[in-house]
């Protein structure tokens, strides 16, 4: 709070220094907020009070000027077809012509400061759970405008769709991660200015840049001409993620010689008020040049990257949070020499370069082609240890509940030990080395090992992409009533997955062997080797590792996809329709670069076979080395959209689409770190999506209402966790997951008519996102080719039953199924003030499949009881939450050429720290019971939303 006051004081001082009177007419340029393209023939009406002073239209280049105005405060109302109405206040003084620069019209959505940084980096370890956020961009959509920012704090997902269903393009190239499908916002976080210009469509609508799916498409332009002209600088501080963001950008705009240049740099630094150990030390750079040769040919080039690191937050059980009296407790960090160190740090530098060619031979045809290349490093540190105690402070054996439980069947009945553990956690400040990672101990253990072999190391898991993309698209107005868009795309992705020894933590070396295998196969040392060929070539020696060395696993995920799409838009008066299709081919496979002792496969030749025989190495059907079989998919999709405009202000439209998509690499390999094996019978994902919409835009009123229904079938996923029952690292591959999402979206912004410039705004998202199938599961363990469970049904995935046999539906997790916001927005004389009350309900915890099997509900005695089903299969529903947020902002023009402004967003004014935003069930069970009749769950882990927090942005432009 002190920092906030200081910032305000500085701000007010600056304002006081600059407060002077200025005069003039009014001029500027009307642009589309998406892409900064000029808006021609926009109607600008200048009002003074209720009196209409002047009416002009913007020129072809979007410019306008209203001269000869008397001093005073005016309201400039801007209207244009297909854009939201806009109005701004302008003060005219002393005969000066006020240059209002760009006046933005929202065409398809509004842009906020929302980006990937708005979401904490959750550390889900290898759990297989996905908590990647989706980001709603505004544009001309009133729902997205409000929900996009306000709902981000609870990681709201529009219509319950997952991150990978949101198509994100850069310069016309689809950039969703080739391996996971996740939206790639982190690649340009911190480059808000460079990436500000974007165009978004919702749901199943078709964009000019790509066919898209059922969860919208955002194309970020990213070229120099789309960066705001001039020099801008901003200082931002927030209290939930990083302390300080410094950003500067400069863009020349179009120059006489046809060139345009732009640059953007930023730094995000420091910790935050809520989560210890989470910090940023991230930087960003962006350089771009455009060359407009003539009205037909344009080339764009950009190169950018975001080198840096950020500490991640971990989930803990409610027991830990309660003991610590802090739902923001983060078990990832500890003191080293009295300093805070986070074990889980994401360290990335993945530069992107693209070259784009725009071809506009006529008003009726425009085309573009882009080559884009992504490369670099993406590392994520974690602790690794060999034959040593688990260093995680919240490891379940360190918690009071491990020693005592009121349920005698749990076999935890030592109250004295419970008391000690309770004392430690309740008075954590007295025991920092037990309630946080004890780095000093890790170093000290390493220091006393014979020969300097580290027991503990910090590893860095890499997912390094080489991602080459080509995309071409065109837009052709074939006739007055028909416009055809289409494109081709190709992608070659080669992602190397490996880990390195990042830090030996004071030791001298580490060995490249499999801990779990050593426990089971100590008598067969070749089985322990992560690099069997090294072992064979070095007379049975395990590879000695030093810092920077690769170890453990090393494989390539190879992905190829090619496709094309076409869409026709037909306009007949007020009625329009679009129909389009997409066809593609996708192939992926794993290519092991190491031969692992547990899964050596077959010898390559007779010499190798002889060597293996001599060593006693047994060949296996499953292999860790070489190429897996290729998973090939023919993908296709079709869309139909109908649109009818009623009376100029209202629009009714509907979309329907069917999609046959390939699953992602990470959803089909059982254990890609150890072998080439895939889930049996991989199926393409089939999605049917439909929506009906009504939109009103006029007289200062904006409303959109949507009903939607989506069905997604044949999804799969792989989760990994340590399984106590198998005493091994275990993989759970689930297939045949179906879901349906249906519901209502409503967004509105309406003048109050009671107070000038005051609007009532709100959104409602009410849906049902539920599972509809009984999937199948296969469980394997990393240290054996044995299949623990083969293709078993998960009968309680779709629903469970209470003790009375009543059906309990199970839902998609980690997003509220009911989200609502109601607030007031005030705009006057460059001030804006917003205040909203929000409600979130019906949010559910991510389920693990193991608890929904007959195996788990039967228990060790193989006897299923209603009580076991009710207990084991129940899905947790989070408590609903009410939040209050507010924003205020103001900008000032100084000496006709400078603009100084600020915005302050304050979230969670009620300081509610009990709002769960996500989490997961641990994939392990308590089996050491007294009765030996049933299993018990391990406690679930959760993430919580920060309490009261703020973001203050001060910017300066000239």
């Amino acid at each position: 709070m002190k920092r906030l006051l200081l910032a305000f004081a500085a701000l007010l001082a600056a304002v006081a220094l600059s407060a002077q009177d200025y005069t003039g007419g009014v001029k500027g340029t009307v642009v589309n907020r998406n892409g900064r393209q000029p808006v021609e023939k926009a109607k600008l009406t200048l009002m003074q009070g209720a009196v209409e002073v002047a009416v002009v239209e913007s020129a072809e280049d979007g410019t306008f000027e209203i001269p000869d105005l008397a001093d005073g405060l005016y309201t400039l109302v801007i209207t244009a077809p297909d854009f939201l109405d806009n109005q701004v206040q302008v003060t005219v003084n002393d005969g000066y012509v006020k240059n209002m620069f760009n006046l933005s019209m929202t065409a398809i959505q509004q842009v906020t400061e929302l980006d990937e940084d708005s979401f904490a980096a959750f550390d889900l370890d290898d759990s297989g759970y996905n908590d990647n956020p989706t980001i709603l961009f505004g544009s001309n959509d009133v729902f997205n405008n409000i929900a996009g920012y306000n709902f981000s704090s609870v990681r709201f997902r529009a219509r319950g769709y997952s991150s990978e269903s949101q198509d994100v393009y850069l310069a016309g190239v689809k950039l969703n991660d080739a391996i996971t499908g996740y939206s790639p916002f982190s690649l340009w976080s911190g480059l808000n200015e460079a990436m500000r210009s974007k165009e978004t469509v919702n749901g199943s609508e078709v964009s000019d840049y790509g066919f898209g799916g059922y969860n919208g498409l955002t194309n970020i332009f990213g070229n120099a001409l789309n960066v705001r002209k001039g020099l801008r600088g901003s200082v931002l501080t927030n209290s939930t993620l990083y302390r300080l963001r410094l950003m500067a950008s400069y863009a020349t705009g179009p120059m006489d010689n046809g060139w345009a240049f732009a640059a953007n740099v930023s730094a995000r630094l420091g910790g935050n008020d809520w989560i210890d150990g989470v910090y940023y030390r991230s930087f960003a750079y962006y350089l771009a040049a455009d060359k407009v040769f003539n009205s037909t040919h344009k080339l764009s080039f950009a190169f950018f990257g975001t080198p840096g690191e950020r500490g991640a937050q971990n989930a803990s059980t409610q027991e830990v949070y309660d003991l610590m009296k802090d739902n923001m407790y983060n078990s990832n960090w500890g003191y080293q020499n009295g300093k805070v160190r986070n074990a889980r740090v994401r360290k990335t530098h993945e530069p992107i370069a693209f070259l784009k060619y725009d071809f506009t031979p006529s008003d009726a045809f425009q085309g573009s082609a882009t080559v884009l290349y992504r490369f670099g490093k993406n590392g994520y540190t974690a602790l690794d240890w060999y034959d040593a105690q688990d260093p995680r402070p919240d490891y379940y054996r360190n918690l009071p509940s491990y020693f005592y439980d009121e349920n005698p069947d749990m076999n935890r009945a030592n109250y004295a030990k419970w008391g000690w553990a309770n004392e430690v956690w309740k008075f954590s400040e007295l025991y920092p080395n037990l309630t946080h990672i004890n780095w000093d101990r890790l170093y000290n253990v390493n220091a006393i090992q014979e020969g300097g072999r580290s027991k503990y190391v910090q590893e860095e898991r890499h997912v390094d992409q080489n991602d080459l993309n080509f995309a071409a698209s065109f837009k052709w107005r074939a006739a007055d009533f028909v416009t055809v868009t289409g494109g081709l795309n190709a992608r070659i992705n080669r992602t190397e997955n490996y880990k390195i020894v990042a830090d030996l933590l004071g030791g001298q070396y580490f060995l490249d062997i499999d801990n779990f295998a050593e426990r089971d196969f100590a008598a067969q040392p070749w089985k322990l080797q992560n690099d069997l060929e090294y072992y064979m070539a070095n007379n049975g020696a395990s590879r000695i590792l030093h810092e920077g060395d690769k170890y453990g696993y090393d494989y390539l995920a190879q992905v190829r996809n090619y496709g094309g799409w076409v869409n026709g838009k037909f306009v007949f008066g007020n009625f329009s329709a679009n129909v389009g299709g997409r066809l593609g081919y996708e192939s992926f496979w794993r290519e092991g670069l190491l031969r692992k002792g547990l899964f050596p496969g077959q010898p390559d030749n007779e010499t190798m076979a002889a060597a293996w025989k001599n060593e006693g190495i047994v060949a296996t059907d499953e292999t860790s080395y070489g190429s897996s079989k290729h998973a090939n998919f023919l993908t296709y999709a079709g869309k139909l959209g109908l649109n009818y405009v009623i009376g100029g202000n209202q629009r009714v439209y509907a979309n329907v689409g069917y999609f046959n998509d390939a699953p992602k690499f990470n959803q089909v390999f059982l254990s890609p770190r150890t072998r080439n094996t895939m889930i049996d019978d991989i199926a393409p994902i089939k999605t049917f999506s439909s929506d009906v919409n009504w939109q009103y835009s006029g007289n200062g009123i904006n409303v959109r209402a949507t009903l939607y229904y989506t069905s997604i079938k044949d999804q799969s996923k792989v989760m990994s966790a340590y399984d106590d029952l198998q005493n091994a690292f275990s993989n759970f591959a689930i297939s045949n997951i179906d879901q349906q999402n249906y519901g209502l979206e409503l967004g509105f912004k309406i003048p109050t008519y009671l107070v000038n410039n005051l609007s009532l705004q709100g959104v409602l998202a009410a849906g049902r996102y539920e599972y509809t199938s009984t999937p199948r599961m296969t469980q394997t363990v990393d240290n054996s080719a044995e299949v623990v469970m083969k293709d078993v049904l998960v009968p309680y995935w779709r629903c469970g039953y209470d003790e009375n046999g009543n059906r309990q539906q199970h839902y998609l997790p980690s997003t509220p199924q009911i989200a609502a916001s109601l607030g007031l927005a005030y705009n006057y004389n460059y001030w804006f003030i917003d205040a909203d009350v929000e409600y979130f309900g019906e949010s559910y915890l991510d389920m693990n499949p193991l608890y929904r099997t007959d195996y788990a509900t039967a228990g060790p005695d193989n006897n299923v009881t209603p009580a076991e089903i009710a207990y084991m299969t129940k899905q947790e529903r989070f408590a609903p939450a009410v939040l209050v947020n507010a924003s205020v902002g103001k900008s000032w023009y100084i000496k006709y050429k400078y603009q100084l402004g600020f915005s302050l967003n304050v979230k969670n004014l009620l300081n509610n720290t009990d709002v769960k935003t996500g989490g997961y069930e641990q994939t392990r069970m308590v089996d050491n019971t007294v009765s030996k009749e049933r299993y018990y769950r391990f406690d679930s882990k959760y993430f919580y939303m920060s309490g009261f927090n703020y973001m203050l942005n001060v910017y300066f432009r000239f």
Binding site: R3, L6, A10, L11, A13, A14, S18, V235, T237, R243, L244, L269, G271, G311, N337, G338, K339, V340, N342, V345, D387, A388, Q389, N398, N411, R412, A413, N414, A416, K417, W420, V424, Y431, L434, W439, D440, Y443, Q449, A502, D503, G506, E518, R519, F521, A522, A523, K790, V792, L793, D854, Y855, A858, D861, N862, N863, V864, D927, V930, K932, V954
Partner: protein
Amino acid sequence: MKKIFIVLSVALVAFSSCKSLKEEWDPVFTFGENKPAAMKLYTEQDLSSLGCNGFTSIRDLKAMYKSGGVELFGNIWIKGQVISSDRTGNVYREIYIQDETGGIDLKLGKSSLYSDYKLGQWIYVKCDNLTLGAYNGMPQLGLEPDSTTTNEYETSYIDSQAIIDSHVFRGAFADPLTPAVVGETELKAALSAGYTGELWGKLVTINGLKYGNEIFALLYPNPNLPHKSGNPENRIFLSDGGVWGIDTWSMSKAKFIEYVSSGAWDAAQVGSGSTRYGPITGKPSDYLQPGKVLDSFGTDAELTYKEIMIKYATANYVSHYFKVGSVDVQVRTSGYAKFSDEVLDSRLLTGGATCSITGILSIYSGAAQFTLVDEPSVSVKIN
């Protein structure tokens, strides 16, 4: 313009001068040289500041034992040097320390203790609030027993790190102790002394041991189900003479399956005492029959005991009998030991050779039992 920059600069300086911010910028560690100070190794002088004014010998400590276990109170400290290691997996969640008067099992309850407690290192134990008990006659120092209905131990593992940190203090490193060499005479004396025998819990070498061609193992067909003496159908004893085809020190899960599958145990009887269920090739009667046919696992009712054993296979310990003179010494090896599947030297198995074995000697139900600390290649020497 200049003034604005000045004001903004002042604001920035103000931000970064806040105390909490200084802590925030500076301490976040990002790799490099920042090693902590060396671990604190306690001296006896250090312990005096913790209230230690002298040490009780391990022999005197053991003498405090009473049947059922005794909780220790007051200023009782012992010291000793570490003589066990769980590196090979044959000792688990405990360390043995030894002074000149004897050795004792310290039930720390943590895994991979050899990473923290090195052979020969001095250990000081504050016994206040710890419990001295025994398991089948073998003295142990742990914590008060769990109050579960099935508990059969006089002590529990200490295993709460806060208790360990406040009761167990690591001292100077020193060379590993040389084992005491004992023979039949010393063994007989110790056995006749029972619980107070000085050899129990010590590192010893016994010379002249001869393989007894006999093993002992207690197997549970389904270890997930209750398998105590009240559930005899889930118990199979491999005993009553002979080695049941077992020639390894113990058996990993894979080795266990191999042994069961070989048919060498087909004659083994299910049950114990007078309650017998026939050989393992038979089908279970009632206890092991499940109540529901499961999609994923089938039903145990359709399986024989032998098939159930394979289905629920785990690693298992084995005790091999040796003799020195007329005294039996069981060498008990965990199925989780890294050398579990190692075959005993053929000169012992069939050649009648004698050997010297080094390990931790303990008493188990009135008999001498040996636990190897190192691999057999180190611990077992053919004479």
